[in-house]
Amino acid sequence: MIPELGNLALSLALAVAVVLSLVPLAGSLRGNSAWMTVAHPASMVLLLLLMLAYACLSWAFVTHDFSVLYVANNSHTELPLVYRLTAVWGGHEGSLLLWLVMLGGWTVAVSVFSRALPGVFTARVLAVLGMVCLGFIAFTLFTSNPFERLFPAPAEGTDLNPLLQDPGMVIHPPLLYMGYVGFAVAYALAVAALIGGRLDSAWARWSRPWTTAAWLFLTAGIALGSWWAYYELGWGGWWFWDPVENASFLPWLVGTALIHSLAVTEKRGAFKVWTVLLAISAFALSLLGTFLVRSGVLTSVHAFATDPERGAFLLGFFVLAVGVPLLLYAWRAPRVRSVVSFDLFSRETLMLANNVFLVTAAAAVLLGTLYPLIMDALGQGRISVGPPYFEAVFVPLMLPLLLLVGLGHWVAWKRADAAALARQLWLAFTTAVAFSAILMLWLWGQAGLLVFVGLFMALWIVLSSGLAVFERLRRHGGWRGLRRIPGGFYGMHLAHVGVAVLVVGVTVVSTFETERHVRMMPGDTLEVSGYAFRFDGVREVAGPNFDAIEGVLHVERKGRYVTTLTPQKRYYRVQREPMTQASRHPRPWRDLFTALGEPLGGGAWTLRIHFKPMVHWIWAGAGLMVLGGLLAISDRRYRIRRRSGREGGEPA
């Protein structure tokens, strides 16, 4: 009964979504305020119905209702409760439902926090969100229904993929989805503004906190995914330029560009058209990301041949979601052209450069991700694009951008004075050069030029941001001014420092890491980067739903005991799959990473032993970016109407 209730809730949600997409929009066009206000209760009801459907599916997982096909495919009676609850989004159908609940949540958030906006505008925004919701509910109900029954019901499920039975996997997809779905709000705001034909700085100001919120969720989601891949997959890498990773990175790159472009549109009324296009692209890439990962198209483009309904539906939805706003734009273009002039050396120009770099990088990643799929679909043979391509393109594009990160916020809007700027910044710049030069001399022969450049960039960003905060504090009367500076200002600098921290981590780990793949007999000792690893053989251990062989590694440094590492090779009893569980000894300055390979007979095993200096700085940097985003959203001026003449911050 419960699954039918879920199905009913989803069907009702479809009806409510139809109302939400049509009535407020019609009201806004005909000036009927009663119709427009329907949007608020409708979005609330929509969310409640979606949550009910979600709860029903969760209930089916909790009670082991294997008569539901999706549950039978993704659960098992031995699966611990917490993983049964997270298995709800372990597959395609359930993750669509999670997507929908989040979209409902964002819609209600817009409805609640937009009371200060003009009713006409709010009605249109909510209507556009309703349309997105409508498309996804229809897709879920008609092609990917998670409540589909299975007759006869099997006595046992086929279990959740063991890779997904991990705390990292519990929170990674929801965060990522929050980010993807969040860009729907920026999209809806842009489309609503196009309908009204008003792309003004008020629109940009309303868009900023929503875009930043989506961006910070996406940042957190990507970072967690990278972290999970690092410790769970047992390969010791943190980014693989895998299509799945690229799919989430694309909206991030464009979203980052959007955040900066919105700042220009708000402050100066420039880049309007560009900002609208970015808002549409960020959401379009989020859709692409969702589809690429969950639809199976990455495994084989021919997957759609066996079920053309899904492919046709998704393609149609994508075309509508991107095409209609573009048509609207063509219609409105004459009314929204920017008429703002600025000098060649001004913050506008640097922001434009920022956008060009980020969007070019996104285009290069998109090419490398989609090209193999397109060639395959056209029957041109199977090819793949390796990580060297992405690295060769990405690094040269990011280096000038990093230089701009330290420079941009110092440069004045409209027209900047280069000489004054040089006076303010020469000390920070030369300090960064000097420090990295000293480092390079000290590390001479061990590290290439890229290390020097990477560390210089990081230092430059930190010094430049630190100096900016110091200057601002001095102007606001020392420490007492701390609270008077807007949150957006701190947010921007914290996020920029996060970028610097991440750059340090990436630079150091990719230059100084050691990865050894070795054969070891019990009693053998291997020295890696000053740490002595002694292999003490293996033993058997049992987990809740797996049996494991556990290697024991005794680690010493300069004769002093450091730790005992126990990497495991797990065999999940239900899915009968082996899986490597790495064992690590993390410290801020380095990580010792070990994984068990295969038995070679006579008690010998192959082992992976990695030394990863400063690898955690990568995720710490991402964490700082997320904190910066949070600070920026907390900026007061997004909540109360800005009083004229009050100086605002410039959030990241």
Partner: protein
Amino acid sequence: MHPQRKRRLYGVLFIVIGVSIATALTMTAFRENLLFFFSPSQIVAGEAPLERNFRVGGLVVEGSVRREQDSTEVSFELTDGAHEVRVFYDGILPDLFREGQGIVAVGRLGEDQVLRASQVLAKHDENYMPPEVAEALKAAGKMPQHEMKRYQKDGYTRDKGDNKGYPDRQ
């Protein structure tokens, strides 16, 4: 020309040149790093290049895995049902590497027709067959019936974990 216009012209020129350089770099890197796929039959027929990396897929031939006793070196044969090619690899094989399993190897072909692999990839699913392998088997007319069904059913609800299992950097 008006100085304001002149400055703007420089700005536009700057962007155009920058974008062209970026495009040129991208296209060069792209061409150099494309990995083509060859089946064992194509390699035996001499279609695979000798001087660049490519990917080969097939089933690991039963009883063909040879291991060195005192190192991590291993070699095995891959088949598409019609022809075999020997692969040499120094490193740790993925969890799901076993005889009879469909895998993909990335590497360079030597004059001796042995592939020296820099990566060996196996998906994290024992039922999974890399699509390239399935196609190579189909092309050679050796796709087992039950595998064929599984292949058609598969590849659909592959989720993130599975996709992640694919590219392995070693």
